[in-house]
């Protein structure tokens, strides 16, 4: 997966590139709008991450140029401005997502992965699995090590999300949005509690823990061998 970041703040750009590279993406970074547009049009990128305010051409102009050249790759905007009109403007021009600074890197990563997934066709799975944890999507049943685990509907959705995106750190906001359809900043510790309760059922009686907390970033489902 090849990503282009156009970001004029050196520190932000550097950390974005490092973070995305470490997450397994092939990432290029440019710091001004003019060369950003040139590269976006000539290179073969799977996703663009554009800052709105850029020297040379701004993010919107790049987006317009990209879309009028017939390129359909997803575009994610980063901006320090949070005016509704900005958001609407960006989305009207064909942006796929919009993140307002300050944002959490885990949030950005989760969105980048969502956007990249959107393009590809996901096969209709009937079950999801990690290690000895198995989730049957048709019968809506969960088993671990052959033992049946009873989950509430929301716990099932939560586990499904974690399983579908296993290995990814999912921020609380993404979990709240995907599982409960709560699309607002919330400073409650509901997700914490929900994860704790899920853990109680899924992990506690098994030596091999699958649900992990990444402090300050979110939660991840993965097998860790220590």
């Amino acid at each position: 997966m090849k990503l282009l970041i156009v970001e004029d703040q050196p520190k932000t750009g550097h950390y974005l590139r490092q973070g995305l590279a470490e997450a397994g993406f092939n990432t290029e970074l440019v710091a001004d709008g003019t060369s950003g547009q040139h590269m976006a049009l000539s290179g073969d990128y799977d996703l663009l991450i554009l800052d709105v305010m850029l020297p040379g051409r701004d993010g919107w102009q790049i987006l317009q140029a990209v879309r009028s050249a017939g390129l359909e790759m997803p575009v994610l905007f980063l901006t320090a401005r949070d005016a509704v009109e900005d958001r609407v403007h960006g989305l009207e021009l064909g942006a796929d997502d919009y993140l307002v600074k300050p944002f959490a890197f885990s949030e950005l990563l989760a969105r980048v992965r969502s956007l990249l997934r959107r393009g590809g066709s996901t096969p209709q799975e009937t079950s999801l699995q990690l290690a000895d944890l198995r989730l049957d999507l048709i019968r809506r049943r969960v088993e671990r090590d052959g033992q049946r685990i009873d989950l509430t509907a929301k716990e099932f959705s939560l586990l499904e999300l974690l399983l579908r995106r296993q290995g990814e750190v999912l921020p609380k906001s993404l979990i709240a949005s995907q599982v409960w359809d709560m699309n607002f900043d919330s400073d409650t510790n509901i997700i914490e509690v929900a994860i704790r309760r899920l853990r109680l059922k899924v992990d506690d009686s098994f030596p091999n823990k699958l649900i992990h907390t990444v402090r300050g970033m979110g939660y991840v489902l993965e097998e860790r061998f220590s």
Binding site: V100, N189, R215
Partner: protein, 451 residues
């Protein structure tokens, strides 16, 4: 130029103009009346002179007879130096004391000016009622009357000018003192600064016309004062709220860097820093949200919402937390309204979060939705200690925490939740308030139907 003129000069000029018009009118009327009066006097005088002349010239209705009477006539005329006479019939003049002057021929009284002298000319037949009677033309010198009238006219102009000037001056003075309350108002307005927002105009002493303005002005000052107090408290609070996590970050980072440590320690430090930073980012985002609301930039979408569905979704979201603290969540009633789904969810979620925080284990949180004629009422009530009456008005203040034990930096909560809820409700044209009694507290959102 006129537009920029001061109110006082404008009023003074208007007064002067009015006085000038009035005195001019009075002068013209007086002048006219005097002139009419003089004409009447002259008429009487001429009538009596005519009678005298007629009696003097009695029977002298032919030139020959007239010639006999002429000396007597001259003698008579000599006695009256201001009177001249012409006697003529259809063909020629019998007698003429003012030759060369063209006189009006029609009978009756006329005014005439000749060589700088004014005359009143009176035509009458010598013998009244006789067709071909010779015509008597009496000329009365009225120069002294005209002089008097002229003098009077001068006097009138002078009066007009002087009275206009006097009223202009007096008017300026009157206007200035009449406008003193306005000047006071502007002095107060001028002295208003961040430090003196407490100053007020004395409404009782204001004239009736200005009382309303003074009241509006005072109310404006009140609002400014209030907003300013809140703003400065807000800035102080922000600094205070940010200081704790910042100082944690600084100290922690510096301590970690003072000596080499195992890798795990660095990781732990970064995680800890991350938590502080996230808390700060959340705080900044919340403050930006409130700032947007303050600037009227929080524009809710208008989606048709069934409140019961929204509340149920929220209760499902809060269910794990509620079970955790052993509080039951209940919902009664439903209503449809129009509003922004995610904004209203956020508003209600803050209320639920708040309610759960203060409900003791075994208690309950009850959401009631009532559809009224005016709009929709949604209340979130929880059992528990209740909130002291004195605290109720301050609950929606930014950074206000009813529970002082929950102190700044205590991870998740910055004390902006209720302020945000209030902003959202207001952006929807509604209002929010809190009531409490022994063993319960209730937050009530009223949303207007029209929204």
């Amino acid at each position: 130029m006129i537009k920029r003129m001061s109110l006082a000069s404008r009023l003074a000029l208007l007064f002067a103009g009015c006085t000038a018009v009035v005195s001019l009118l009075a002068g013209v009327l007086f002048n006219h009346a005097s002139e009419a009066h003089f004409i009447e006097l002259d008429q009487q005088l001429l009538d009596s002179k005519l009678a005298t002349l007629r009696s003097t010239l009695q029977g002298a209705d032919t030139p020959a007879l007239f010639a006999r009477k002429e000396p007597q006539l001259r003698e008579e005329l000599n006695r009256q130096p201001d009177l001249a006479l012409r006697i003529s019939d259809a063909d020629h003049r019998w007698f003429d004391a003012a030759p060369g002057v063209t006189l009006p021929q029609t009978p009756g009284l006329h005014s005439l000016q000749n060589a700088g002298t004014d005359y009143r000319v009176y035509n009458a037949p010598l013998v009244p009622g006789k067709d071909n009677s010779p015509q008597l033309t009496l000329m009365l010198d009225i120069t002294h009357h005209q002089h008097f009238l002229q003098r009077m006219q001068h006097l009138i102009w002078l009066t007009v000018g002087l009275s206009a000037l006097a009223t202009a001056l007096l008017g300026a003075w009157a206007a200035r003192s009449g406008l003193r309350p306005l000047r006071r108002m502007s002095e107060v307005a001028g002295s208003v600064s961040a430090h003196s927002l407490t100053q007020r105009l004395p409404q009782q002493q204001m004239p009736l016309e200005l009382a309303e303005l003074a009241q509006a002005f005072n109310a404006m000052l009140g609002r400014l004062d209030d907003a300013f107090q809140r703003l400065s408290a807000f800035s102080a609070d922000i600094a205070h709220e940010l200081r704790t996590p910042l100082s944690n970050l600084l100290t922690h980072t510096q301590v970690i860097l003072t000596q080499p440590r195992p890798l795990e320690d660095y990781r732990e430090a970064l995680h800890s820093n991350l938590e502080e930073l996230q808390w700060m980012a959340q705080l900044v985002n919340d403050m930006l949200y409130l700032a947007k609301a303050d600037h009227g930039l929080l524009v809710p979408k208008r989606e048709t919402l069934v409140l019961a569905d929204e509340v149920d979704a929220l209760l499902e979201f809060f269910a794990p937390l509620a079970e955790d603290v052993q509080v039951s969540l209940l919902r009664e009633g439903s209503a449809a309204t129009a509003g922004d789904r995610s904004m209203l969810r956020r508003a209600i979620s803050n209320l639920l979060d708040n309610a759960l925080r203060f409900t003791p284990p075994g208690g309950e949180v009850n959401v009631r939705i009532i559809e009224g004629a005016q709009g929709v009422r949604l209340s979130v009530e929880n059992t528990g200690e209740g909130i002291p009456q004195a605290l109720l008005p301050r609950l929606f203040d930014r950074f206000y925490r009813a529970d002082p034990a929950r102190h700044e930096g205590s991870s998740e909560h910055a004390g902006l939740g209720l302020a945000i809820t209030q902003s959202i409700v207001r952006a929807h044209g509604g209002r929010i308030f809190c009531e409490s009694g022994a063993g319960w507290a209730r937050f009530v959102i009223d949303l207007p139907q029209g929204y």
